[in-house]
Symmetry: C2
DNA sequence: TTGGATGCAAAAGTTTTGCACGGTT
DNA sequence: AACCGTGCAAAACTTTTGCATCCAA
C-alpha cells in the first residue's frame, strides 16, 4: 500500500501507525469544531472502533506533542478541546448560547504585540484571543 | 461597628457577613496575582482561619456570581484562578517560565470587535486576550 | 525481536454536592 | 425563628499512570 498523507505524517514523526490512532486523527481532521477527548471516544465507539479512553488521551498527547493537533481550553467548564492543526494562526468566536465555535483567521494583534514587547521588555511567544457573543441564529431566537 | 467598604458590599448583594467570607475577599483584594482556590485555602490556614475547601469554592462561586470576583482559566493546567474584580477591562501577560501573570489594562481590540460584529452578524459580548512570553527576569537567566 | 501502543483498573487532581449542624440577620 | 453558610464525607468529573499484554516495524 502506498503511503497516504496521514501514514506519511505518522512515519515522518516517529509514531506507529495503528488503527485507533489513524481513526482519531481522521476524526479530528474531519471535524469542523474542536472536540473533547470524550467526544472522540464516543465517535470511535459509533464506528465500532473500540479504543479505551486512556488511549484517546494518550494519542491526543502524542499528536499535540508532534504539533499535528492543538489543545485548547476555551470551554470555561474545565475540559480540554482538540483540533487538527492546519498551521494557521487563528482565534475563536464562541456563541454563548449554542456554544458553537467558529475560527477566525484574521488577527488584529501583530503591531500591538510588537509594541507590547518593546514596552514590557518581554519576549512574546504567542497569544490567545477568544471572542464571546451570540451568533446570528441564536439572536433570532431571542 | 460601622460598615466598612466590604461589609457594605456584602450587605448590598445579599450575602451574609461571615468570618471566612470576609477573609477570602480580603485575600483576593490584597493579592497582586490571580489565585487558586487551594492557595486561598492555604493562606487562610496560615492565618488560623479554619475554612473548609468546599467553603472556599462555595464562597468563590458566590463572589463570582455577584461579580465581586472574576474567574479565570489561563493556567493551561486545568485549575481555575480567581481575582478581585476592580471593574477594569484587562488582559494578561503570562511568563511561560516563572508563570508570573501581569495584567495589561490597555486593549487594542475596540475597533476590531466592532468590525467583527458587522462582518459576522454576531452580537459581541466580550473577549479574552492572553499573551504568552518570557519576562525580563527569566530572559536574563537564559 | 523490540520498543512503542493498548486495555484495564486504579489513582490523582480539581470541583461539586448531600446532609446535618451552626451562625447571622 | 428563618435562612443562609459551613464542615465533613462522599461523589463527580476529567485526566494520568502502572502494569501486563499486544502489535507494528
Amino acid at each position: 500500500m502506498k503511503d497516504t498523507g496521514i501514514n506519511a505524517t505518522f512515519k515522518g514523526c516517529g509514531l506507529k501507525n495503528t488503527k485507533s490512532r489513524l481513526a482519531i486523527l481522521d476524526i479530528l481532521e474531519r471535524s469542523v469544531q474542536p472536540v473533547s477527548a470524550e467526544q472522540i471516544f464516543l465517535e470511535l465507539k459509533e464506528k465500532n472502533i473500540s479504543a479505551n479512553l486512556s488511549t484517546v488521551y494518550r494519542t491526543l498527547d502524542k499528536l499535540t506533542e508532534k504539533k499535528l493537533v492543538t489543545k485548547l481550553q476555551i470551554t470555561g467548564d474545565s475540559r480540554a478541546l482538540f483540533e487538527y492543526n492546519r498551521m494557521v494562526h487563528k482565534h475563536y468566536l464562541i456563541c454563548l448560547e449554542c456554544k458553537k465555535i467558529t475560527a477566525i483567521e484574521s488577527c488584529p494583534l501583530g503591531d500591538y504585540v510588537k509594541a507590547l514587547a518593546r514596552e514590557t521588555d518581554y519576549s512574546i511567544a504567542g497569544h490567545r484571543l477568544d471572542i464571546y457573543g451570540f451568533c446570528p441564529d441564536c439572536r433570532k431566537k431571542d
